[in-house]
């Protein structure tokens, strides 16, 4: 079998594939250092500068290019992502906990929850806007858009927790119960620490998905823009490298977030290991 030749070929292909994934982002990052304000969003780089980064923070003299409306939008997006993260993680953990016991109609409930990540955002967004219009409710990012964000992220949290509980050894809980510990205390002291890595993943999922979500937000958020909506607004006008600079900064922010997640995950895994050792001793 000529497996080594195939392996080499596939390896080369995978390298190309990764170039395909990263190429546009690399080009975007390079062009964010275009000179301003006359430099455009294309090659060649007239002169390297950090003009567009300064432009983002309003540190440049006024020009005809309007600054991105990111300041307020950033705060809104972060608050919305935190709200979504908390609510969808709580819903995800409780629902997955319920699924540990067989019950009638579990299939229907499962698909009802998973439907939330299946239905395109533009549809729920439209539906929610129609409901709000009919009932005379004002649309706000913290109201109508928020509930839709949870509709979207709750299934992810639920699936993550379901996978965690599938690999969960219930005998430790049973041991606690048989020793007369109340279910609530068992959950707090035994179950929760053991599922904590899953909870962290669910939180990360919910936060990043909500932070980046815009198709649900577009119709449901009313007048005030969230961050993705501010970027979407630039689609219809001329694109300037300030959007690219902003892209680089948000990517760095996401990496910081990912780093925090990795550290927390490492700590919780280490703690779980330490607990396991104590148990053995």
């Amino acid at each position: 079998m000529n497996a080594s030749g195939i392996k080499l070929g596939l390896g080369f292909y995978t390298a190309l594939f990764i170039v395909f994934l990263y190429g546009p982002l690399a080009v975007l990052a390079i062009l964010s250092f275009q000179t301003g304000p006359e430099g455009g969003p294309q090659f060649p780089i007239i002169e390297w500068s950090t003009y567009w980064y300064k432009h983002l923070f309003g540190l440049t003299p006024p020009s005809r290019i309007a600054p991105l409306p990111i300041e307020q939008a950033l705060v809104r997006s972060l608050v919305l992502a935190v709200m979504t993260m908390i609510v969808s993680t709580v819903l995800g953990v409780t629902a997955a906990q319920a699924f540990r016991r067989k019950f009638r109609g579990s299939g229907v409930v499962f698909y009802l929850i998973v439907l939330g990540m299946m239905v395109p955002g533009v549809l729920v967004g439209l539906g929610m806007a129609l409901v709000a219009n009919t009932l005379g409710i004002d649309r706000h990012w913290w109201g109508t858009a928020f509930v839709l964000h949870v509709v979207y992220t709750f299934p992810f949290a639920f699936l993550v927790m379901l996978a965690i509980f599938n690999r969960f050894d219930p005998s430790v809980e049973e041991a606690a119960w048989s020793l007369g510990v109340t279910p609530a205390r068992t959950f707090r002291k035994i179950t929760f620490p053991l599922i904590f890595p899953g909870v962290l993943s669910a939180m990360l999922f919910a936060f990043t998905l909500s932070y980046d979500e815009f198709s649900r937000t577009l119709f449901a958020s009313g007048r005030d823009l969230t961050l993705p909506l501010a970027i979407y607004g630039t689609f219809s006008v001329e694109v300037h490298p300030n959007v690219f600079a902003f892209g680089v900064l948000t990517t760095l922010f996401s990496f910081a977030l990912l780093g925090t997640y990795a550290v927390l995950m490492g700590l919780s895994v280490r703690r779980a290991k330490r607990m396991a050792i104590q148990e053995e001793a």
């Binding site: 390896g11 319920a98 009802l112 939330g116 395109p120 439209l126 689609f235 996401s254 977030l257």
Partner: protein, 301 residues
């Protein structure tokens, strides 16, 4: 059947009175999530179906039921065109993500024996997803444009003398953009399924003298099919609901159902938007239902 169920219930009730509270606890745990989904997912979609039958006048809609919006949709070239474009783009992107993604998944899932390395490669594929979706879409503009990176490189190395203009603001640019953005959703599930293949099965086939292609056809491909289907579900759901990529990369030349909905909402034509929404829902439901017939999502978890 019913007899057995009742006798089972009573035996539980008498033997362990403490477990009788369990069904209540399950219901209690489920109630918030189910309620949330019913109120904020099912109700809006039902509302959309209802509004699609409302009467649309120039500036407002009235809850007088009529089929007029539906008739308008199915007699208009714009709307029907958008429906066909949506189906065409969906199929092309589905095939292209599979073709582009499968070899990479094959390498990561099967050929990289080192667990750390294969995890690192998968993480490398996922990292771009921490950049905003809209920024990733926009990133294709300086790549594909007339003065974009691809044209510049091709001109420098002398492959072309004139910039290729069809690269940006065309259907091709939408397909390229969507393929890059969504192919990882194909790679992930497939690599996951390939990683679960027992290496001894392949070794046995090798010992029996089977060549790579034969092993691929009879073992690898069938065993990776659940991954392909799961990936296809992800990609389908996302591509069918798309409107941003086509808005940013086609220069308004490619209109998907999503774009129709956005435009109609923008001009307060709620009933038309609702009709397009219902058509999109039916299309999506049919696609997902068909794919779920092939593979049971709950079992693959």
């Amino acid at each position: 059947m019913t007899m057995a169920a009742t006798s089972h219930d009573t035996s539980v009730g008498t033997a362990a009175p403490s477990t009788r509270k369990q069904p209540d606890r399950t219901a209690l745990l489920l109630a918030p999530g189910v309620l949330w989904m019913l109120l904020f997912l099912v109700a809006p979609i039902l509302m959309m179906v209802y509004v699609s039958f409302w009467t649309q006048t120039t500036f407002k809609i009235e809850p007088t039921l009529t089929l007029k919006s539906w008739v308008t949709f199915f007699t208009s070239d714009t709307y029907l065109g958008a429906l066909w474009t949506t189906i065409r783009i969906w199929l092309i992107v589905l095939v292209s993500t599979l073709l582009v993604g499968y070899p990479a998944a094959l390498f990561v899932g099967l050929f990289v024996k080192n667990k750390t390395l294969s995890t690192a490669l998968l993480v490398l594929c996922v990292i771009p997803f921490w950049t905003s979706f809209l920024i990733r879409v926009l990133a294709w503009r300086p790549m594909l444009g007339k003065e974009g990176a691809i044209n510049m490189i091709l001109m420098k190395i002398g492959v072309i003398t004139q910039p290729i203009e069809v690269l940006l603001f065309s259907e091709l640019s939408v397909i390229i953009g969507m393929t890059q953005i969504y192919c990882v959703f194909m790679v992930g599930p497939i690599a996951f399924m390939l990683g679960r293949i027992d290496p001894s099965v392949i070794e046995a086939a090798q010992d029996l003298g089977a060549g790579f292609w034969r092993i691929f056809r009879t073992i690898i491909l069938p065993l990776s099919m659940p991954g392909v289907v799961v990936g296809a579900i992800f990609v389908s759901v996302m591509v069918l609901g798309e409107f941003a990529t086509s808005a940013a990369l086609s220069g308004r030349k490619v209109n998907l159902l999503g774009n129709i909905i956005v435009t109609q909402v923008g001009s307060l034509k709620w009933a038309f938007a609702a009709v397009a929404g219902v058509v999109l829902t039916i299309l999506m439901g049919a696609v997902v239902a068909a794919l779920l017939r092939v593979v049971d999502l709950r079992k693959e978890l």
